[in-house]
Symmetry: D2
Subunit: 332 residues, 4 copies
């Protein structure tokens, strides 16, 4: 059994608490959140104890690892403390919004030689990972184009958006990671455009709610990403890979396999899942599996710290491109 | 060019007139209908002449063939006159409602040695005929089960139903033919049930509007047919063949390839075609192609007179089974 | 926490052990199987103890309920012992192959007033139950036809088939239950045909491997069921309901949402699940939820003992119809 | 009857000849091609006469209109001669590769006040035009994003590519037109990337075979276009429109509605159409309908000369952007 402590008892922390508690090879060893009421409630639900301090958890020798699901600005500091305390780390994305802070943290992580995994959960979605497997098997030959669609059901609160780092770093970072994961290579340049179509207040704080980007990969292949902060029909998450031998598409799952045929709508599938908690439920469970496997086997977890860093570099290039109207090279 | 005269200027006659007129290897040589106004109108639309009499058309040596699309009770008499006048015949289904009349007519046809094709147009539907081709290619091995679904959008007028011969002989006869066509073998016994779910007046005239049948084929394979006189979502025509190597399904075509994703209905395809004129438009054109091909090549057309007769025998067995509650052997 | 003991450590027993162990409101209180090695292995996997005897489990006052997943011939006896020992019962289907034995057992159950649920797990499948909900909501109005497709990937061993009660009582009994569940009414008559297309040895022991049946329901609606012991493309489980307002279809789930487009096959979905353990995984979990809910709330569980009995009556009518070639009334 | 002469007897000219000959309101009044053998053969097939000279056709007062399907470099000259000879014109796309030549031609067309339609046939595809209708009906509200996919089955000959004007002007010009058509507004800026993934010889002549572009429309909406000169699974032509009320997708039609379920591939639809002649067959017929309607009614045909000009301006911006790595404003 791997004893794991959880930092963060917000929406995503609560979900992780449930998954850690139910995992056959994990013991949830405590929960900390600055909001002690939230921490207490989630701990009770998950059948564990809230902790009064970060230090108490990190100082507990019986704890093997921590899952960091607190706010983004705390990720690097917690990760540094954790690896110094000899804990393995599973940290939510993004690592941090500032690449300099990421690089500084990366040095601490590297020096510690502790295993660190970044929470790009979508890599563990059964369909997306089957897509990657099919690419590796050569089912469609060499990949030439990709189209990644990412549309959230509704924008988060403006207060969140103000500190989110912007749509490219906060939301599309998943898609930049997915491009790297699926192609198995780096983006070399990015061209991006952003617009404000959903809510003018989002434009008012200097952010976009509607974006499109094109990445050129090392092989010369092109990858399109589109994103929106609002989607009337649910959480729209699709990936299309086009190769010289065909096309693979990871389609949206419907809530059930019920199909309706009426005078109004023929062959209508059931609604999509509402949002990531439902849509990617299985991926979050498999993400913990992978982390436990890596820690137990003593191998480097994947996606790694470097994966988290490189996704941010691509997002940064997109931010710069959208501002300048130029294609921007991704920093190495 | 094959010169073809048309008998019948009703809904289906009008469609045939249009197809004959547009066919590159056919010259529409005249139209006759007891309703001379209808005849005149359809002739004008199709750029040909109405004829004052059947005899005038049959006596015209320049006419090679006739297409019989008049009411069912006139089919046998017209066919007999036509083959005696050395015209090839394409006759709408069913040949006649009375098997004795069919057999008498069959003798005249046989004696004449003239080519006669029966209008089981669905055999020429691109998807249904691709299904048959795939069976012949052995794509799913030996066929073990079939499910044939046939649902009309709305019941015809009661006046029509009174003389229709009942749902098995009038409507399901297409499906009995399809079973014979797809399996390439004869049904040996039929079990059928009928109900009145759509309109009690249909029950009042001794007919059903909702039917299910199971056929046992010579090979032992089983074939289910279901039918309804009313379907809220359009004309529902599907065929499923199950073999030891897999399943083939001829699905419903949608009116267009537009798919809608809204909060109300996800992945909703466009509506189905309303009814047979739209749904089977292409099959009616290809049916004429096949007839012209056969006549020009001097080979026996298919589906043949015997195909028309055997579909009626299966329908008769279904009628008897639905009345008696017993599985009934199909007369040879 | 409900303390539940498990009888049976075969394939399905092992799955139940896993689900009981993982259930947040259940404590798996022991496992018994005549095969003590199997019992020990499953108990170890599930983190519980094997029991040396049925009596030890039934005599344990701390145990609230039993899940009976042993061979069919033991169901009634175990159920009678269990209810007399004041245990609630969740019993796998079918209750027994002999309706007289079922009726005798039913009297014991009734007298005990203990809650008994029968394992028609498919009622708890998310898509099938959404189908039932949509019917209740009136989405397609009054139901007029149903088509239920049930095809297993491969036949079980002949030794199993010899004692299975035949395909109608062993396999199609799920479909008879589904018809009753979805229509919310009883079948009044059944017409069935059976064939041997998959394996002649199955015919040699007097059973069928390929069946079709039509049920007439109390309302007059018709329901078709087809079944096969072998299916090349996986476990095929579909339900189609046709009403005056439209059609609802519970489609097969694919293993993932990956879709392939190649020169060989366009828009090919991922393979189907192999068999019931994978396909109905979620239904088995939800079945236990429902049982725990009912026992905790002190209400009659559903599907009830009577549901198990009535499905057997329909299966018996099908057996008789397939033998006699007559439509058979379902005993009340 | 509108008497129409045809210029060009290549692949697309031959198809137009067939459609003109079969059109109920058109008389095909002659065919001219520099290759007199091709001209003679197509004329024979279509039941008309080849013409020895352009002048003979343009000088024929009985001819109302011309369809220009000759090589791109001849379009402007023929169009100018035709409108001066008082013929209505239906001209294949693109008008010309040089915007200055287009503008000069535009002045002649405008001065003549003759009706001129440009052959953006895809606007007449039943699914694409239903998509436009649904947008106009407000089915998905305000459009915020579009994804247009255009992949040809195989690259044309290098000799053709050398004079084609490049992939943006030759192939993607259809997609630029489609963006304008579907949004009902102009693109204001374009960012494009090109790559050579299919055939290095295409790169050798300074062209791309794999492209992606993003357009910003006047409303701020973003439109992605991707294109490839080669597609293993057939001619891939899809359009996705995303609005605040949902998403509309014009999907690829399959060759038939046959769906295969085997151990290898589940729910595999039939292959796509091979290329534009098959895929857009109906659009070419409806394009002629629209032209005849406009000429008969004396209204300006659509898509107009100006539509042809504006699509070229967008293509030119893409060419410049792909070369410079900058987002380029579309000339007004």
């Amino acid at each position: 059994m791997l004893r794991i402590a959880l930092f963060g008892a917000g929406r995503i922390g609560r979900m992780h608490a449930r998954n850690l508690a139910a995992h056959p090879r994990v013991e949830l060893a405590g929960i900390y959140d600055v909001n002690s009421a939230a921490s207490a409630e989630v701990a009770r639900e998950a059948g564990t104890q809230p902790s009064r301090s970060i230090g108490a958890l990190l100082g507990d020798r019986s704890i093997d690892a921590v899952l960091i699901a607190s706010s983004t600005d705390t990720h690097c500091t917690l990760m540094e403390h954790a690896v110094r305390a000899r804990k393995a780390v599973l940290c939510e994305k993004p690592i941090h919004l500032d690449i300099n802070r990421v690089d500084a943290c990366g040095k601490v992580v590297e020096a510690s030689r502790m295993p660190v995994q970044i929470g790009f959960n979508r890599r563990f979605d059964p369909s997306h990972s089957a897509l990657r497997d099919a690419v590796i098997e050569g089912e469609i030959g060499r990949i030439e184009q990709a189209v990644i669609t990412s549309r959230d059901p509704a924008p988060p609160a403006l207060d969140y958006l103000r500190v989110s780092g912007g749509i490219f770093r906060d939301m599309a970072i998943h898609d930049f990671d997915m491009a790297r994961f699926l192609f198995g290579e780096e983006p070399v340049e990015v061209s991006a455009m952003g617009g404000v179509m959903v809510d003018q207040r989002i434009g008012g704080i200097g952010d976009f709610d509607t974006v499109m980007a094109v990445l050129r990969m090392e092989s010369g292949a092109l990858c399109h990403i589109n994103g929106s902060r609002r989607c009337a029909y649910g959480y729209d998450q699709r990936i299309e890979l086009f190769g010289d031998g065909g096309m693979l598409v990871s389609e949206n799952p419907a809530a059930t396999h019920l199909v309706r045929h009426t005078a109004r709508a023929t062959s209508a599938r059931d609604r999509l899942h509402h949002f990531f908690i439902e849509r990617y439920a299985e991926s979050y469970v498999r993400e913990i599996d992978a982390f436990v496997d890596a820690v137990e086997a003593g191998v480097v977890p994947s996606p790694s710290f470097e994966d988290g860093r490189r996704a941010l570099l691509a997002a940064n290039a997109a931010v710069e491109s959208a501002a300048s109207g130029r294609t921007v090279r991704v920093a190495p």
